[in-house]
């Protein structure tokens, strides 16, 4: 069949059912937007989980009244440990300054002396160390001379990890549901445009058109719909993401330790082409029983 006639017949379909296609593409775009958002969430959660899995971190609170020399020695000892990547000494003064910077309160708090804030050593752990190994390390460090307390963040980590995996499950469920919705919507739209154009299909069949000839324009329409909808969704998602990026980062970054990232070009292309693919498939399936005229 000639491409010219195929395209011109598909264009005729679009012209005639413009309203229908606008509604369909919009609702499809919404569905794809949900899918994209779920994927985005999944991807970022994955990134966070990976980062957390890799980068452990321990805070070692020091006993009051340690000499700077003792602190330096302790830091050196810690740095010498196999699991330790780097250390950073936070003196009482610095802890006080950080605290004051974080509160907006004035006088009363500012009067607090540095002695209120214990000095500490922030210990970065090399990547790849398991939570259990970090826990053991923390216990060993806790037994060292001059250490008052060790915070290994294990509890938080475990809770956040379970939160993350719950989030992943949720996002996956949403992706599946949305995929189903997209399929149903495309199918219904195609079925609707077929129902309206039943007579047309019947006439073509009775005049000796092959299935391919009849199916062609509908499949083109399905593909265009899917493409348009997914491209629209990607555009909207990108717009929303980059508009809200600063906000997202400030809300999440301290907490999760990573910057929010957008979907990679591969995933984006996959999303758009899956739109086209679903459109084509759904058209083909919906057409099947109508071709048996």
């Amino acid at each position: 069949m000639s491409i010219d006639s195929l395209i011109s017949r598909a264009m005729r379909g679009f012209r005639e059912e413009l309203r229908l296609y606008v509604v369909a593409v919009t609702s499809l775009a919404v569905a794809f937007l949900c899918l994209g958002a779920a994927l985005l969430a999944l991807q970022n959660l994955g990134a966070v989980a990976e980062r957390w899995g890799k980068s452990g971190h321990i805070t070692v609170y020091l006993r009051d009244g340690l000499e700077p020399a003792e602190i330096t020695r302790l830091a050196a000892v810690l740095e010498g440990l196999r699991e330790v990547d780097h250390v950073r000494v936070v003196s009482s003064e610095e802890a006080r300054a950080e605290f004051l910077a974080r509160t907006e309160l004035g006088e009363e708090v500012a009067e607090l002396g540095a002695e209120v804030f214990p000095a500490s050593i922030e210990v970065g752990i090399v990547s790849g160390v398991t939570v259990e190994a970090i826990e053991k390390l923390a216990a060993r460090i806790g037994a060292l001379e001059g250490v008052s307390d060790v915070e290994s963040y294990r509890g938080w980590f475990e809770q956040l990890a379970s939160l993350l995996s719950a989030g992943k499950v949720g996002a996956t469920v949403i992706a599946v549901l949305v995929g189903f919705c997209v399929f149903a919507v495309v199918g219904n739209t195609v079925r609707l445009s077929i129902a309206r154009r039943r007579r047309e299909i019947e006439v073509m069949k009775l005049c000796g058109a092959t299935h391919g000839f009849v199916r062609g324009p509908f499949i083109v329409e399905g593909i265009v719909q899917g493409l348009l909808a997914s491209a629209l969704a990607v555009a909207a998602l990108a717009a929303a993401f980059f508009a809200l990026r600063a906000e997202l980062n400030s809300a999440f970054s301290i907490f999760v330790g990573t910057e929010a990232v957008f979907l990679g070009p591969g995933l984006l292309a996959l999303l758009v082409f899956s739109g086209a693919f679903i459109g084509a498939t759904s058209s083909t399936l919906s057409l099947r029983r109508y071709l048996e005229i």
Binding site: S5, E200, V203, L206, C207, G208, A209, T210
Partner: protein, 271 residues
């Protein structure tokens, strides 16, 4: 039309597969043969019961009979909208019932069909409705335009190609259906009540049109109730009744030259 016939070298015959030609054996056989055909709708109501019928290549046959006699069913069996329940229908010697689904389009490309309920697409223009029969054959757009124009002229609708068919009058729609059936110059023309919505003058015009096409070698099977029309021509008349061939005769026998028909006939004879 003439240019196209020349370019394709005689009657085109893409049967069962596009490009295939009917061989010598096909050409010798009757174009259509019904052998003991039964068609049942529900257990106890056969629409056709034991139909035997042969239509030779190049014949012009009227099919008549009361409402519900089975005329449309007979035609639907030929274009495989329905399949026989027993017996065989041979088109150029080949059994239509044994066509695969993929071959049916190529059978239909040899047929021109005027449906009893027109089956025009109301939201398409007149041009589009007629052109679809040629677009399916993948003819170039230029050729489609010229042949559609010619067909519309023959049914008295020239210059109305851009109107939407849904806005046409009943008779105009019927003529669009006629134009679509003839535009592809089919080997066999099946017309189911093609003049039911036409005034007597136009009805005779359409009949004459079919006869002209018949002159070029097309076989015509023309189902109609219009006794005024069939009795005045010297063609074979098959009368169906309750799914059986009840009577076979030739026209002109009982033709009385009274009323408007006579006037037109006279004019036609003169012109």
């Amino acid at each position: 039309m003439v240019s196209n016939r020349e370019s394709r070298g005689g009657r085109p015959f893409a049967f069962f597969r596009a490009g295939a030609r009917v061989g010598a054996e096909g050409a010798e056989r009757p174009i259509l043969a019904f052998e003991d055909v039964y068609k049942f709708f529900g257990k106890d109501q056969p629409a056709l019961r034991g139909l035997n019928l042969t239509i030779e290549r190049g014949e012009f046959v009227f099919l008549t009979g009361p409402s519900g006699a089975g005329k449309s069913t007979l035609l639907k069996l030929v274009y495989r909208e329905l399949t026989v329940d027993s017996g065989r229908i041979l088109f150029c010697g080949r059994d239509i019932a044994r066509l695969t689904d993929r071959s049916i389009p190529f059978l239909r490309r040899n047929l021109g069909i005027v449906f009893q309920d027109f089956k025009v697409v109301p939201h398409w223009t007149v041009f589009e409705n007629v052109a679809i029969a040629l677009e399916i054959l993948e003819l170039p757009a230029r050729l489609v335009r010229s042949r559609v124009g010619e067909a519309l002229e023959r049914v008295g609708l020239s210059g109305r190609g851009d109107e939407r068919v849904g806005t046409l009058s009943g008779g105009e729609q019927q003529r669009v259906a006629v134009a679509r059936a003839i535009v592809s110059e089919p080997a066999l023309l099946l017309a189911d009540e093609p003049t039911g919505n036409l005034d007597p003058t136009l009805a005779v015009d359409v009949l004459t049109l079919f006869e002209e096409i018949h002159q070029t070698g097309t076989t015509v099977l023309f189902a109609t109730h219009d006794h005024g029309l069939i009795e005045r021509r010297d063609h074979r008349i098959l009368s169906l009744e309750q799914g059986r061939v009840y009577d076979v005769r030739r026209g002109l026998a009982s033709w009385s030259s009274s009323g408007v028909h006579a006037v037109r006939e006279a004019r036609r004879a003169a012109g």
